[in-house]
């Protein structure tokens, strides 16, 4: 989903930066607040930040409808559930900045756009998918599964929207372009990978619950750590 340097025109570069930066600012504020309340919060942010960084530049070979390709998961669904959506945007922004600077992956001018798709859309969609699944009284694994899957789909939908916006003023149809690009993403690799990401997030949440349920309780992910039925 990384949009490479030079793809976005100046007006969209500025727009996506203007949209993304307030979320990053709120994320910094949330980290400062939460680290005072919970001693293990900073190590958790460090761990999930590194996980999002590794996940989002980890090319997984997939054989799908459109042949053989490599693509990467995003990890923002997992970080949004555990750290909250705003901190997850911050974590994604740092990961994307390092990738743009040193890994020739993404770009500095397209950083705002990439933060919007992977950070904002990925984190908030995953977070709300998790909350809705919890309200439907699904087990923790399935809540995590939906969070991971939905965040992956929305990240790639965000990239499709950003690319689809390029047709405006050139006589193309925006909805048609978005549908076409999103369809190609799904057929090439992401249709399979979003399921894989969902499974990984589900297992991570179950692991944390079994190993340190107190963390999930403190983070507000679960309400009751004595209820094994929710796993």
């Amino acid at each position: 989903m990384h949009i490479t340097e030079g793809i976005l025109p100046a007006r969209w570069v500025l727009t996506w930066f203007a949209v993304s930066m307030p979320f990053v600012g709120i994320g910094i504020y949330h980290v400062k607040q939460r680290k005072r309340q919970m001693p293990a919060y900073l190590p958790l942010v460090g761990m999930l930040g590194a996980a999002v960084f590794v996940f989002s530049c980890f090319p997984i070979p997939v054989i799908a409808l459109n042949g053989m390709a490599t693509s990467h998961p995003c990890g923002t669904g997992m970080s949004a559930v555990l750290l909250g959506p705003f901190v997850s945007v911050l974590v994604a922004a740092i990961a994307l900045l390092i990738q743009a600077l040193f890994l020739a992956h993404g770009g500095l001018t397209t950083l705002g756009g990439n933060i919007f798709s992977m950070g904002i859309l990925g984190s908030f969609s995953g977070y709300f998918a998790f909350k809705i699944a919890q309200r439907c009284r699904l087990r923790l694994f399935w809540c995590g599964f939906l969070a991971g899957m939905v965040s992956d789909l929305f990240t790639y939908l965000g990239t499709s929207i950003e690319l689809g916006l390029l047709v405006i003023g050139k006589g193309g149809s925006f909805p048609k372009a978005v549908a076409e690009i999103f369809g190609v993403f799904m057929m090439t690799s992401q249709g399979v990978l979003c399921v894989v990401e969902g499974v990984v997030v589900g297992f991570v949440l179950v692991f944390v619950y079994k190993r340190r349920p107190g963390i999930l309780l403190q983070l507000g992910v679960i309400k009751d750590d004595k209820n094994p039925a929710q796993v």
Binding site: G6, P9, A40, M47, F58, L103, L163
Partner: protein, 109 residues
Amino acid sequence: MTKTLRRYKLHILRVIFTASVLVSPALFAEGLPEKIEDAPAQASENEAWTGIDVSVVGKYAAKYGRPPRDPYINTDQGDLLLFVFTAAGVIGGFIIGFNARKIFYEKNQ
């Protein structure tokens, strides 16, 4: 007995994790054999093992008149990208492992 078994399991998990972190950059480096500026003209989503950042994003950007160009700090030169990805994988893996141990395994937490 249970403690020894758990320790062995942890050791095996650590070895698997380290191996996967070290192998991942090599996989990625093989996925980007061509220069990014040439990608839109040559790559398509049907090419084997091409990253979709190049094959899909690059292709559609070129189609809409905004082809990608080289990054400002271009590490995609020779084995430099392989080195950078390996270093990033090792550092990322270390940070994950160090904090995971601190959060999930140390008893005073």
